[in-house]
């Protein structure tokens, strides 16, 4: 039995530092304010600063103290078996598949309102420049052009709107709305702009060097926060001092973009002072909130909805400039197509002290994340690296310092959410796994063995709580067995032959934190008079079969056939805000909301007195009112 008392004591050695925004723009300020109202970020910040422990963890700690900690379950934690239910656990054809293979599925760019205008944007060809003159008279006079706006007309507060000081090649300077896409494109070419080119910086490391060109005038530094976000645990210096040797790695990733098959787009339709925005997105309520703030309109008059969505990968979570641009013409509907994507550059360095006996007791890691540093969110669900649970564990005096995530601005596209390959996690894996291999090589140890000696399988080192199950040791052993590691591993720097193509073997773990269960998890389940079910949620279906999964959850809970459940989603006015579909939270978070709402509706139905003969007489059900239930379960964030 693990010594669970240390789970409480270890918390004292943990420290978070979370920096303040440098030179926050109007939009960052608005976003932080919104986040505070909406998600209680202030509490999260206090938690990150170590001034407060999260409520659920505090409750769990109290329960642990009072009742003694539960015995951690041993055994293969990765073998999860679910007994098939009424609907869940059976192969099910995606409910959207038929519409998608016939071309009937409507994506937001497939919406063509009558008299719709087309917008096109003039983009800077230079990574950093100042517009010295701009002449739109020829564009305005071009037949079929409805309006031309430049950075001089755009609201200054606008995060991604037009600018007179473009900070990446592609930064929008002016925009045209015209009768057709072709005319708009021609008009854009008729705008005459003179630029003064300015020095630029493209890599995050260069951007932090003294004297580096600033991303835009008026900045003091290219760093986005001061201090950067830092997480420390234990005494790193001591860990490094005691070690026999230290290994180091540093990596840089190439430029990453989301590249959803469906390009960004928005179609704005005005009905007097009521705006409907069709846009391919992952979070209708979030975009509605941001657009309503930008346009100073009540949320009741901004409706955001998406049709089927052609992928998102994080990039379609927030509000972009084209949302405002499309909404710019109040008397006509307008489309913005193939609008701006975002991109990321990441890199970092890490150090690991190692002992001759194959132990590693500390790690220091620095990561940077570069792009144009408009912060989409302050910290969000930022969590210390998962790898802490894997390296340097197994020792009560474990020391796990790290420095994580410098956010840096350079002359690249805007940086938003990125889901690709585990987001930040991919960089952590790259650093940590390289470190582990180098350390193993330095002490001449089998890399599998090195990990088995250093993994933590009993205690979650982030929350200092014992695992109910972990399975990490079993996973590594099982993987090694499948790979025939024992026979294929020949030792470090051993090659069987120098002839022909070279083939090596290597070891790496990848840990994926999939499915964050985080509030708000809301849904409205309405049992209709004929026993069919309508579910309302504001959550999006970005193409991962979300509506099918949710339908299965509701059908299973209520005991109705799958085809009698209809999910009305992706509409900020039709359903409650269930937060965006990002972080792989669709099934776990939104699905949990639906599960609870369905259970609630079921309970209400059973408590009520159904009319006699309900099961046999279909006509009598019409007398029944529809039951509505909504639930926002505040379950703990689970990992």
């Amino acid at each position: 039995m693990a010594d669970n008392t240390r789970s409480v004591n270890a918390a004292a050695g943990r420290r978070y530092v979370y920096g303040e925004l440098i030179n926050p723009g109007a939009d960052e300020i608005a976003h932080e304010r919104y986040s505070r109202q909406r998600q209680g970020i202030t509490q999260i910040e206090r938690v990150l600063r170590g001034e407060e422990v999260p409520r659920n963890v505090a409750a769990m700690r109290a329960a642990l103290k009072a009742g003694g900690a539960p015995e951690p379950r041993r055994g293969p934690g990765f073998q999860l078996r679910v007994e098939p239910g009424f609907v869940v656990g059976h192969d099910t054809i995606d409910m959207r598949a038929r519409d998608k293979v016939t071309g009937r599925a409507i994506y937001s760019a497939d919406v063509y309102p009558p008299g719709v205008l087309y917008t096109k944007v003039l983009r800077s060809p230079f990574p950093h420049a100042k517009v010295t003159s701009i002449d739109v008279s020829r564009a305005e006079a071009h037949p079929g052009v409805h309006a031309v706006i430049t950075y001089e007309d755009a609201p200054r507060s606008s995060r991604l709107a037009l600018t007179g000081e473009p900070a990446f090649a592609g930064d929008p300077v002016a925009a045209v709305a015209a009768e057709s896409e072709g005319i708009a494109e021609e008009a854009v070419n008729l705008i005459e702009v003179q630029y003064q080119e300015l020095p630029f910086v493209l890599s995050p490391q260069d951007a932090l060097r003294p004297g580096a060109p600033l991303v835009r005038s008026g900045l003091e530094t290219n760093a986005a926060r001061d201090p950067q976000f830092t997480y420390e645990r234990g005494d790193a210096a001591q860990g490094f001092a005691e070690a026999d040797l230290t290994v180091e790695v540093s990596v840089e990733t190439s430029y990453e973009q989301h590249v959803a098959m469906e390009p960004h787009n928005a179609v704005a339709v005005w009905d007097d002072d009521y705006l409907t925005l069709y846009t391919s997105n992952q979070w209708p309520h979030g975009i509605a909130n941001s657009v309503s703030g930008e346009l100073e309109m009540p949320l009741s008059k901004v409706r955001v909805l998406a049709g089927d969505t052609g992928g998102g990968w994080g990039d379609k979570t927030g509000r972009h400039g084209y949302h405002i641009g499309a909404a710019g013409e109040k008397d006509r509907a307008a489309r913005a197509l193939r609008a701006e994507p975002q991109g990321h550059l990441r890199g970092g360095g890490a150090q690991l002290p190692a002992f001759r006996d194959g132990a590693a007791r500390a790690q220091e890691r620095r990561q940077h994340h570069g792009a144009r540093g408009h912060l989409v969110r302050p910290v969000g669900r930022l969590r210390p690296a998962l790898q802490q649970r894997r390296l340097g564990g197994g020792d009560p005096d474990v020391q796990e310092p790290e420095r994580e995530r410098e956010r840096v601005q350079c002359h690249h596209e805007h940086c938003g959410h990125l889901a690709a390959a585990g987001g930040r996690g991919a960089l952590r894996e790259l650093l940590t796994e390289n470190l582990a291999n180098r350390a193993a090589e330095a002490v001449n140890l089998d890399p599998v063995e090195f990990r088995l000696r250093n993994i933590e399988t009993e205690l979650d080192q982030v929350d200092d709580l014992p695992y109910s199950s972990n399975g990490l040791r079993e996973s590594i052993e099982h993987g090694a067995e499948l790979f025939d590691w024992a026979n294929r591993w020949q030792g470090w720097q051993r090659q069987r032959s120098l002839d022909g193509p070279q083939r090596g073997v290597g070891m790496m773990c990848f840990e994926c934190n999939k499915g964050s269960a985080s509030p708000p998890m809301t849904a409205i389940v309405q049992i209709q008079a004929d026993d069919s079910v309508v579910v309302n949620t504001g959550a999006a279906d970005i193409g991962g079969g979300q509506r099918t999964t949710w339908s299965m959850i509701v059908a299973e809970t209520l005991g109705v056939p799958l085809d009698r459940v209809r999910i009305e989603a992706m509409d900020s006015h039709a359903g409650p805000d269930a937060l965006g579909i990002f972080g792989s939270r669709g099934t776990k978070s939104v699905g949990t909301g639906m599960l609870h709402a369905a259970m609630d509706a079921r309970a209400k139905l059973l408590q009520g007195s159904p009319p006699r003969g309900r099961r046999t007489s279909r006509t009598s059900t019409s007398a029944r009112a529809s039951f509505t239930a909504s639930a926002t379960p505040r379950t703990k964030s689970s990992r």
Binding site: I93, D94, R96, A97, R98, K100, V101, T102, G103, R104, A105, I106, Y107, A109, D110, Y112, R138, A141, H142, P143, G144, S180, E181, G182, I183, E186, N189, L190, V259, A260, M261, E262, P263, D308, T309, G310, G311, W313, L337, R338, I542, G543, G544, G545
Partner: protein, 209 residues
């Protein structure tokens, strides 16, 4: 083995060929200009200088029906299908023959409709994703994509299905290498590729059924 549609569509001249100039060009100010040796139209495509964009009424045969369509000289076949005929099943992805989400079948050959000029497609048989279903029955390729989940977000799916349909029309029993080769120009960010292969295998097995 058919060459990739991307290379064929990409090689098409952006300028009009005069042998297609059967249509009358109608300028937006109402005056009619006959299409001459191509210069009357091509002249305004390059650098527009306050010259109204010429429009032409062309006849497009789509999914077995003739449509008279008013198109501008620089309008792609994809734009004509989506904006003029309301056939929004064909998708605009990259707009430059890289992703093939816009694939349609023109005279039996899979082509990227984003890179074809609508005005040049007169007299050809164009089949889009909307033209595959018959009396509510999915085509074998469509059925394969449903049964084998050859899609997630579905945005590339119409293009994938049209490419696969063109392949099977030419070769109803391709081996896997032929399928991979034929489908190599159709990108899927959701990476449904293994399922797409299964779907096409299913379609091949059910091709004559």
């Amino acid at each position: 083995m058919a060459p990739s549609s991307a290379s064929r569509a990409g090689s098409a001249s952006p300028l009009l060929d005069d042998d297609d100039g059967a249509a009358t060009v109608v300028t937006t100010d109402g005056s009619d200009t006959p299409v001459g040796e191509g210069d009357a139209v091509t002249g305004v495509i390059g650098v527009p200088d306050n010259v109204p964009l010429p429009e032409a009424v062309v006849t497009l045969n789509v999914n077995g029906r003739d449509y008279r369509v008013n198109v501008t000289a620089n309008m792609s076949l994809l734009e004509a299908l989506r904006q003029r005929l309301g056939l929004t099943g064909s998708k605009l992805g990259c707009d430059r023959s890289e992703c093939s989400a816009c694939t349609v079948i023109v005279d039996g050959v899979a082509m990227n409709s984003c890179s074809l000029l609508a005005i040049r497609e007169q007299g050809k048989q164009i089949v889009t994703i909307e033209g595959l279903e018959r009396d509510g029955v999915l085509s074998p390729v469509q059925e394969g994509f449903v049964q084998h989940m050859g899609l997630q977000c579905g945005f590339c799916t119409p293009g994938q299905i049209m490419q696969a349909t063109a392949l099977l029309q030419q070769n109803p029993a391709p081996d896997e290498a032929q399928v991979r080769r034929a489908m190599s120009g159709n990108l899927c960010k959701c990476s449904a590729y293994p399922n797409i292969l299964s779907a096409i295998r299913y379609a091949s097995e059910h091709w004559n059924a």
